[in-house]
Amino acid sequence: MRKNYIFGALFVIAGLLIAIGPKTIFAVCNSDGEMTMKCFYVAQTELAIGIAIAILGVVLAILKDSAAQITASIALALNGIITILIPDVLIGVCKSAHMHCNAVTRPALNILGALVIVLAAIGIVLFREKDSKVNE
Amino acid sequence: MTVHLEIKNLRKDYKRGETVFSAVKDVNLEVNGGDFISVVGHSGSGKSTLLNLIAGLLLPTSGEILLDGESAIISSDDKASRLRNTVIGHIPQGQSLLSNLTVFDNVRLPFYLSEREGDPSAQVHELLTGLGIGSLAGSYPNSLSGGEARRVAIARALINKPAILLADEPTSDLDAENTDEIMLLFKRIAKEGTAVIMVTHDQRTLNAVDRSYTMEDGVLSNHSV
């Protein structure tokens, strides 16, 4: 089925952006000096979450059983939620509204996280539809 | 009560540059419900123009078309379309099914082109089953064979129980077996009271019809079978 290839590819792209983005495209603020900033840890944690999302995307593309596809989608949605919670609640970013991590990294992660959640939700619906068709 | 269609001195002129050219020249024709007639001619002879005139898709230059004694030449497009939708079943030339719709939707489509009450679904299934293609209701046209597609087009032409059935080259691209079956079908439809007017250049159909006419350069002439 082509559907889960497309979804898998989208999750891999989103996952890689979440993983590498906070260190490159929408980088967190520089941490020079001895104190390490919150955003540095945000970037580190998102690296792990992003890689997990990318791997789950590959898994989703390979999986053929629709129950397994739905499970992978649920896992992806949860990872999407964590992606958002890290800069917003769990770790947080620099207080100043104009610092790069607050003005750029945080919204970028929010959007990517939301994208992962929305895609996963659409995926769950589509994979379930396929399932019910088989059962008919 | 069956229909009585009378065509008197019907003429359709086209201008090509300076010269006027008549696609249909002073045609006279009378068809009654139950008749199965054919108009034979080469392409370009004016036979399709004649069908389009009868269907009200074209307005004649002069002449009369009388349907049960009343003029069927209507200048309002809306009214002409409604008349066509209710009185005439049309089987256009070639592959005429709408490729974006299923067989089921193709057949019931004419029902919804005028204001009507009710649900034609049962009728659609009945028609399709009667034509031996009941199982194809959910298929899309591109998966049908030529003979199947032609049957769907016939079912679609019959959905509004028309008084006149117009068929434009209904057997083109069909093998002998399919051609015979469709001729039998038209005979049956005619027997039930519909006037069937078929335009064709297929000689194989000639012995199926009640009367046959020849069309050449816009002139219709009687032609005994």
Binding site: C29, G33, V104 | G44, L58, D78, S96, N100
Partner: protein
């Protein structure tokens, strides 16, 4: 198989569904239009709001600063770039005597350090509660009591801790109130009375801010705000001030505003011209695409005619298809644009380097509706030509012989 009546709407849905590539292409193009319209709308309105709010905020006719620091003070007001500079307090009393000056009030600037590395330096602005006419009107909107010594008023971009306190140079201060957003650099400033500022100054010195060693905060100020007597001309008073003493730079707030307004007009007209050009190009493209597709679909339309569809119905079918495509594209583009533009508003404002004040929810909704309406309007406009041709009798309606 659905038994739902086969309406024009259903027919249109089936048609666009069964041509996924063409439909997706058109939807993306219309989505781009909606994206540009919404983003352009928000941008231009935010810039205009920012300028208005800066005009209101300044409150003074003239700003007097030490020579060479006109850019410094503009940086503070427009871009939120912290700066400090001082001259002698006596300037204030001298300016009061200048002909045409109605009232003066001095301000004292200071910046904080990058104390922990997660914060940017903050601009402190000290004002004299006795004479101030530029800051207190705004404080009174959010805080009705007098500002006591040691209390801070913060701009909308500054965040206090949970206990409503902020720590500077090793000491904690109470935040009395937060000002409303202005979209200017002043959102990143912290305000206090002169006594508090003198205290902060001392603490900064202790923390080793050596560059201010030679300054005595009791006898120094950074800028003097001037209001004119009615009937006096700006240029005239500026001239009078220049004549009265040396080493002063006089900034007309009006020309600061008009300078920004000029920049802004250029930017906004670029946005408008780009959006308009884009709109026209897309409209022309849609007209062409719809008419080319109609040519390809001649047979389909002729069949519909033969089955009893009027020309009007065909026109409605084509317009409905166009509306569906533009509706989906317009909504998608507006939503994506809203997510991106609203999320990154701080960054956009910073990059533009101009006062940027986003409209409220109602304003955002208004712009979204407008973007949606225009992109939806592309449907009927783009397909009108084709629909008109289909509605004409005899042109499209017959399948030619031999076809």
């Amino acid at each position: 198989m659905s038994n739902k009546p086969l309406t024009i709407w259903q027919l249109a849905v089936a048609n666009i569904k069964r041509k996924p590539l063409r439909t997706a292409g058109l939807i993306i193009i219309v989505a781009l239009v909606a994206f540009v319209l919404f983003a352009g709308g928000i941008l231009s309105v935010s810039l205009k709001n920012g300028l208005e709010s800066m005009k209101e905020r300044l409150g003074a006719d003239l700003l007097v600063v030490p020579v060479g620091y006109d850019e410094g003070v503009e940086g503070i007001i427009v871009k939120g770039e912290p700066a400090y500079f001082y001259f002698d307090k006596s300037v204030e009393t001298e300016l009061e005597k200048v002909e045409g000056v109605k009232s003066v009030s001095s301000q004292f600037y200071l910046t904080s350090l990058n104390q922990d590395c997660c914060s940017v330096p903050v601009q402190f602005i000290g004002f004299d509660p006795e004479t101030d006419f530029s800051i207190q009107p705004w404080i009174s909107e959010v805080y009705s009591k007098d500002i006591k010594d040691g209390e801070l008023i913060i701009g909308s971009d500054i965040t206090a801790d949970e206990n409503n306190r902020l720590k500077f140079f090793g000491e904690e201060y109470t935040v009395a109130a937060k000002l409303e957003e202005t979209g200017t650099g002043l959102d990143q400033a912290v305000y206090a009375n002169m006594n508090t500022l003198v205290h902060l100054f001392g603490a900064a010195k202790e923390k080793g801010l050596t560059f201010i060693d030679t300054i005595d905060p009791e006898s120094s100020v950074s800028s003097v705000l001037v209001r004119l007597e009615d009937g006096y001309d700006l240029d005239e008073v500026t001239h009078n001030i220049r004549a009265s003493s040396d080493g002063l730079q006089v900034i007309k707030t009006k020309s600061m505003v008009t300078g920004i307004a000029d920049d802004l007009d250029g930017l906004v007209s670029v946005i408008y011209v780009f959006a308009a050009l884009f709109l026209v190009v897309v409209l022309i493209m849609l007209v062409i695409v719809f008419s080319v597709t109609a040519n390809e679909r001649k047979k389909e339309f002729a069949t519909l005619r033969a089955l009893g569809a009027s020309g009007k119905k065909l026109a409605r079918l084509v317009i409905t298809e166009a509306l569906l495509i533009c509706g989906i594209g317009g909504s998608a583009g507006t939503i994506v644009s809203a997510v991106i533009v609203l999320s990154f508003s701080t960054y956009i404002g910073d990059r533009l380097g101009l006062p940027y004040l986003q409209p409220g929810i109602a304003g955002v909704f208004g712009i979204a509706l407008l973007a949606l309406a225009v992109s939806l309007g592309l449907g009927p406009l783009g397909s009108a030509y084709t629909a008109g041709r289909l509605n004409r009798r005899e042109v499209y309606l017959t399948m030619r012989e031999g076809e």
